[in-house]
Amino acid sequence: MSYQQPKFRHPSLPVNDLGYTRADYEGAISTLCAGCGHDSISGSIVRACHELSLEPHKIAKLSGIGCSSKSPTYFLGKSHGFNSVHGRMPSVVTGAAMANRDLLYLGVSGDGDTASIGMGQFAHAIRRNLNMVYIVMNNGCYGLTKGQDSATADEGSASKKGDPNPFGAIDLPGLALQLGATFVARSFSGDKEQLVPLIKAAMSHRGFALIDVVSPCVTFNNNSASTKSYEFVREHAEATGTVDFVPMREEITTSYEPGHSQEVTMHDGSVLRLRKMAEDLDPFDRGSAMMALEASRSSGQILTGLIYMDKDSADLHEVLNTSRRPLNTLAEEDLCPGDKVLQNINQSLR
């Protein structure tokens, strides 16, 4: 049995702008079941962070409880981490983000952690447009507690030992759109080509970015009657189009025929290039996005790709006009500016 990965890596692993290889973004060896979709998502996160040349110590990964919420141990071993209580990750991120806006907040949750116990927290994080990436590793079950149906299990879907689910599913992207989320995407753990650019885009987005990633639970919910199995998802996934992410530093060289592609400059200067987009979807229009989601769902398909993005999103810091500097860098004179300032404030309130 292997408890750790060998230290050797491919000798020609690419090095990013910081001089790091992908190995520098890895974490401990996973203890999840062999073949769990969550591990693939971890792999995509590692790839995205490496390719974006993010400094590991500038990232905080936060999670709740579940197999999915365990996964931050298995990536970004040199970043900050907080494994919180079941369903409470959003409030911990809120506190952390308010205290230090310089970190990139990566929340990792499960469908149980988000759509059941954590639903309230999820809703309010969206409503406030908290500046974070929120990844749901969605397997339609409570994997950690042995595979009970979750609130995202489709009606009629049955897990390995279970009966067909009598309830309708909560569609997290649909819900998020309705709650006013400013970046909404869905992907599949088994499709890194799609997922990695989406993670990069979400990380560049200012405000709340949800990626709902269908992530099969090989142990409890990868059977033929399940709609969250590898096979079912492969057969029923359709994409809104292809997203390429071009970081700010890179020159855009390829040109595409007009009409086929569309380019969006993110607030940090990087560019999202949308190619082969479905004709009936305008991903910058919330109504169009909702219609597309519904159309796809009612035809029994799973819509993946970038679903909606608000290019002009203003995040919670802007709305609240919070301190530009992390609180831990504020000295006594900043925090207690003295009697004179107090007098001025009082004066202004008279």
Binding site: S2, Q5, H10, S12, D39, E193, E238, A239
Partner: protein, 616 residues
């Protein structure tokens, strides 16, 4: 809206339909050569010794078993564990993931040093002979290997050599401080004691006369016994202060020469030069220098031989071309050299151009010329059906080792020029196969297939019957005898060998490249788990394509063209699994992570065809 699996167009975009039709064929892992090639060391070994198999036995302290595996394939484990040219080590995969390969050669010595008696494991020799008589000319490793393979089959074998004992150049050339005579005697005697009839101290001067004695086949294993002299001004006048390296070494080995002058110049950059200079240091040479025409890096000597020489205080002067031997009043004073610089043209062809500096004079009491060896067959008549080519070398078939006279076979240095012991052994095995086929009236071309076997190593869910964890340790260094003692006596062995503890640790560095990753496409659900876990990015699921192009879009670029891609049949998503064998650690993590056991770790055993094996 587009179907997800068609959105992979990213990679398809740039490809024309023509290119798409040229895809890599699925790998046929049933072809024994496929996995054979993955076992880098074994593949590189001329005799194809199953290296990882014996290394695991060393780790398990089963030294005698490890020795016998070696003995079967390379016949002289004790000798080779000290002196092999080790083509396996530059090939070792470990050298591609870190600095140094596994010390394969020195592990072989651990097996030899720590084994128990092998008397009861030696093949039994039929008392009733098969009636076929074979003559072996020369008693070097090539001939001895032929004897070893044919004696157990009932052949009657006569061996002839002009030296007083068997072993060939292993006895006359390889110095005792690298190879103790007791080790050589032991391994030569395992073979001679099988009942080989020896005729030593006898020069064969006519092949015809040997053939006339009615042998069913004759094997020529006479090596490349002729040394060369550089014809420089002053050579004649210098008289016996100038020696031919290999002649001088055998005179030392046979105790005709016991000392040398204080100042010695050794000309040449090969291993013979290294043995000459180190021997000189032991026979009284104080200022011993190696002088070589080429740049240091281009020298033919193995890196470790150069290191050993320099370690013994012998400087190597490179880029010095010998010009003249300086003799005054009938006494050699030294030599003059011209300094040169290496220039390489576009094709990498080297020319040595004089730097224009003054000639360099170096003092010398003795000069040893170690500038190469040649074959010489004055004793083979040219009218007995053996064709010779324009270089006056016999025409020998590269597979069967048969000459144009069907009864006469060649092997070792005599076949294609000077090589090394392990190559001589490999030739000997194949010549024995041919001689046996020939004597049974079968075609020597129709050779039995190698023996192969592939067995799962799975013991439990995440348990394997081999140590799959990859040790981080760097290569261990072999301890040496104290230099003052070593230099005092040429019989003192310099290398002490690994003790068993270090042997274990070094053995654990082996990556078990014979434990193959075997992929069963029908089981794969394309979950990517293997791709994610693989520490060295070997595995990719992608569209098939032309190999050259496919190699560029794998998880990590597959730039080592000597290493194959393992490509599956097309999977349900239309993609194929591509595994670049290059830096696979054989750690088994892919198989541990695979939820469906589409990957399995299976041990592949490959034994080269041996004499006596039936044609399938």
């Amino acid at each position: 809206m587009t179907h997800l699996w068609h959105v992979y167009c990213n990679v398809w975009d740039g490809l024309s339909a023509q290119e798409l039709s040229n895809t890599v064929e699925p790998t046929d892992v049933k072809n024994p050569e496929y996995f054979h090639k993955v076992v880098d060391c074994q593949y590189a070994c001329p005799a194809h010794t199953p290296v990882p198999e014996y290394i695991r036995l060393i780790a398990a302290q089963r030294y005698t078993d490890a020795y016998m595996i070696n003995w079967e394939s390379n016949v002289f484990p004790g000798v080779l564990g000290r002196t092999c040219d080790r083509p396996c080590e530059p090939a070792c995969r470990r050298g591609r993931v870190e600095e140094e390969p596994v010390a394969i050669c020195r592990l072989k010595r651990v097996a030899a040093d720590n084994k128990d008696s092998i008397a009861d494991r030696l093949p039994s020799i039929p008392t009733e002979k098969n009636g076929k008589r074979i003559a072996l000319i020369g008693a070097g490793p090539a001939s001895l290997t032929v004897a070893r393979d044919l004696m157990p089959l009932g052949y009657s074998i006569d061996i002839f050599d002009n030296q007083f004992a068997g072993g060939g150049m292993m006895r006359s050339q390889i110095p005792s401080f690298r190879l103790p005579i007791s080790v050589l005697d032991e391994e030569v005697n395992y073979i001679l004691d099988m009942g080989v009839v020896t005729t030593f101290d006898t020069e064969i001067t006519s092949l015809k006369s040997v053939l006339d004695q009615g042998y069913d086949a004759v094997f020529v294993g006479t090596g490349a016994p002729r040394g060369k002299l550089l014809n420089l001004p002053g050579l004649e006048e210098a008289g016996d202060s100038v020696h031919v390296g290999i002649e001088w070494l055998s005179s030392v080995a046979f105790e005709h020469v016991e000392k040398i002058g204080k100042k010695v110049l050794v000309l040449g950059g090969g291993n013979t030069a290294m043995d000459c200079c180190r021997t000189s240091r032991r026979l009284g040479g104080e200022d011993v220098r190696v002088v070589v025409r080429s740049p240091f890096a281009d020298m033919k000597a193995s890196p470790w031989e150069k290191e050993d020489a320099m370690h013994e205080g012998i400087p190597i002067y490179d880029n010095h071309v010998p010009k003249e031997i300086v003799v005054e009043d009938g006494v050699m004073k030294g030599m003059l050299f011209e300094k040169v610089e290496a220039h390489y043209d576009e094709d990498g062809k080297r020319s040595l151009l004089p730097t224009g500096e003054d000639l360099v004079f170096m003092e010398a009491d003795d000069v040893l010329m170690a500038i190469g060896q040649e074959n010489a067959f004055p004793w083979i008549e040219r009218d007995i059906g053996i064709e010779f080519d324009k270089w006056d070398m016999p025409v020998v078939d590269k597979t069967t080792f048969q000459s144009t006279n069907e009864k006469v076979f060649f092997g070792g240095d005599a076949a294609f020029g000077p090589e090394n012991v392990i190559t001589a052994v490999a030739h000997g095995h194949q010549a024995a196969v041919s001689i046996d086929l020939f004597c049974r009236g079968e075609s020597t071309q129709n050779r039995p297939a190698p023996f192969t076997n592939l067995v799962s190593q799975k013991m439990g869910i995440h348990e394997w019957s081999y140590a799959n964890a990859v040790a981080d340790d760097e290569r261990y260094i072999v301890p040496l005898a104290p230099m003052d003692q070593a230099l005092k006596n040429r019989m003192v062995e310099v290398e002490l060998g690994f003790d068993t503890d270090t042997g274990f640790k070094e053995a654990e560095r082996c990556l078990n490249c014979d434990v193959q990753t075997v992929f069963e496409e029908s089981r794969c659900i394309e979950c990517d788990a293997c791709v994610d876990i693989c520490p060295t990015d070997c595995i990719t699921f992608t569209e098939n394509g032309e190999e050259e192009e496919l190699r560029t879009r794998l998880s990590a670029p597959a730039r080592n063209l000597e290493q194959d891609l393992y490509v599956s049949e097309t999977l349900p998503t239309g993609r194929v699994m591509v595994k670049d064998e290059d830096v696979c650690l054989h750690c088994g993590l892919c198989a541990e992570r695979c939820p469906t056991t589409a990957w399995d770790m299976q041990k592949f055993l490959y034994n080269v065809t041996k004499a006596g094996q039936e044609v399938a």
